[in-house]
């Protein structure tokens, strides 16, 4: 029982991170119908910007943890969203009128490029940071097992919940959100009505990248290490989360992220830690086989 609760906490933490990244996949799919395979690497870039920022702040002797976290978040979001913007502008927009496969291949190219760029500029070795939040709360003890809630986990869950709430508000209540949803439903009509669809698509990429950057910062704080290859596996898991929730569905991405995080935690604890990645990929295959529209997705064909 105690271990199950601990896994629940761990799983929710992990799931929050997957959910943040999954939103980027699902938004981009919703608006231009492509899977942005470079999105996992955008998250990796966000994590590296976090490491660099933390190191710089430490070098300047900044010791206030809340200030450091906030500063790193702002810097990571700002720079990473520019990456998101640039990836769309360079690799996808010129191919928008061509067949569906072209931007997909371009995305894989972008992914490889980003990984190699970071490897060349930052080195191939694992980069650690000095631990930032080390405390935690002992919730209760059962036998020899103490259920512990770490400060980093509280940070991740609270930040994610706040971001999701803000993001939901943005999409459902604001003028930009309405334009974004309009583009998902009919781009030509949205243009004809006087909206700059290219700009809306750019901002969508920037928002997706910004959320991935937050995930990158959180993971950096949580694990304390990053390397240039973390974007690949995490990217595919977040993609699985988006597909599981129903690609194109924002609540679906959040739900899918949580489920993947929980399944992974419990699988690692009770079945096999070495094969924990198998769990997510098995889910991906099963969803694609039996319920391609996902949990909250809608069928492609709809009555209009």
């Amino acid at each position: 029982m105690a271990q199950a609760i601990q896994q629940l906490i761990n799983g929710l933490t992990l799931g929050a991170v997957y959910g943040l990244i999954a939103i980027g996949y699902t938004m981009v799919y919703g608006i231009i119908g492509m899977i942005n395979f470079a999105h996992g690497d955008i998250y990796m870039v966000g994590a590296f910007i976090a490491v660099t920022s933390f190191t710089l702040l430490a070098a300047f002797g900044v010791s206030s943890v809340p200030f450091a976290l906030l500063a790193v978040l702002v810097v990571a979001i700002a720079f990473t969203s520019v990456y998101g913007w640039a990836v769309e502008r360079i690799a996808y927009r010129p191919l928008r009128a061509s067949n569906r496969l072209a931007p997909l291949i371009s995305a894989i190219g972008m992914s490889i490029f980003l990984e190699n760029m970071v490897q060349v500029t930052q080195g191939a070795r694992i980069k650690p940071i000095r631990p930032i939040l080390t405390g935690g709360i002992n919730l209760f003890t059962q036998g020899t097992f103490t259920v512990r809630l770490f400060e980093t986990q509280i940070l991740i869950i609270v930040t994610t919940v706040a971001l999701m709430a803000g993001f939901t508000w943005l999409i459902t209540r604001t003028s930009f959100g309405r334009q974004q949803r309009a583009c998902e439903q009919d781009q030509v009509v949205t243009k004809v009505l006087g909206y700059n669809v290219d700009r809306i698509i750019s901002v969508t990429f920037m928002i997706g990248a910004g959320l991935a950057a937050v995930a990158g910062v959180m993971v950096t704080v949580y694990y304390g290490v990053v390397d240039f290859f973390i974007g690949f596996v995490v990217g595919i898991k977040a993609f699985t989360a988006a597909v599981l929730g129903g690609i194109g569905s924002l609540p679906g991405a959040m739900l899918g992220g949580l489920i993947i995080g929980l399944v992974e935690s419990f699988w690692a604890a009770y079945l096999s830690a070495e094969y924990k990645d198998v769990a997510s990929f098995a889910i991906l295959i099963l969803v694609l086989m039996f319920r391609p529209t996902g949990l909250l997705g809608r069928p492609e064909v709809e009555k209009v």
């Binding site: 949803r181 309009a182 030509v188 243009k191 004809v192 006087g194 709809e302």
Partner: protein, 239 residues
């Protein structure tokens, strides 16, 4: 002259959809474009918005050359389109659809314009918070027209507004077109297969065939023309 197309050519893939089209709309006029399925009527409407971009020729709106203007800026000049098949946003509410019609409109006009639309189309007031995809075809057409009018356009273009609608709604739509001209002095470019209704409402009309304008005249002239009668009115050509 409000809108003037001269020598307009447009291609859809390898199809030469518009071949040297000359067409003009004056302020305050209702101009109708009739023609059979596939004659290029919708292409003509969409090419005014640059989708597809004209391969040659010129489009002038109030004297300004808009041929190469980005699509979203064309609407800012004061042209609104009610597209073929309505193309309202099905997963948005009626209110959100109307809000989408106000890209460049002054936000302080919103309530006035919304009230005006809901007076013109009372059904939209009843359905304000309902998803637009759940409306009937006729209701969706009302919504599409209202959405276009929310931008306070100088020129309203309607592409097949009566297509697939029940006779009651068809009557209502042509009645609204008349009212828009009479009460607001609206300039209208109307594309229709329903030639009989369309010519009756029109000040002037053009007949498009295989991407070319083959006839033009006042609505009454075309209504009386034996060629038009044979091809588009007495059960031939368009339906």
């Amino acid at each position: 002259m409000m809108l003037q197309l001269s020598g307009l050519n447009a291609h859809y893939g390898h199809v030469h959809a518009l071949c040297g089209v000359d067409l003009a709309v004056q302020g305050g006029e209702i101009v109708t474009l009739i023609g059979a399925n596939g004659a290029g009527k919708s292409t003509l409407m969409m090419s005014i918005f640059g989708v597809p971009r004209a391969s040659s020729g010129r489009i002038l709106f109030e004297g300004e050359d808009i041929t190469q203007l980005p699509t979203h800026q064309i609407s800012h000049r004061g042209i609104a389109l009610v597209p073929e098949g309505r193309r309202i946003y099905p997963r948005m509410t009626v209110l959100e659809n109307l809000q989408m019609g106000t890209a460049k409109a002054d936000p302080t006009n919103f309530q006035t314009d919304l009230d005006r639309m809901e007076a013109l189309f009372p059904i939209l007031a009843d359905r304000r918070d309902q998803r637009a995809g759940t409306l009937s075809g006729g209701e969706q057409q009302m919504l599409a027209i209202a959405r276009a009018l929310m931008s306070r356009p100088k020129l309203l273009m309607l592409d097949e507004p009566s297509l697939g609608l029940a006779p009651l709604y068809i009557k209502k739509i042509f009645q609204i077109i008349r009212e828009l001209k009479r009460d607001f002095g609206m300039t209208v470019l109307l594309v229709e297969q329903n030639a009989n209704h369309a010519l009756k409402v029109a000040d002037r009309a053009y007949v498009l065939q295989h991407g070319r304008i083959v006839l033009s005249g006042t609505g009454a002239e075309l209504l009386a023309s034996p060629e038009v009668r044979a091809a588009y009115l007495d059960g031939g050509g368009g339906h």
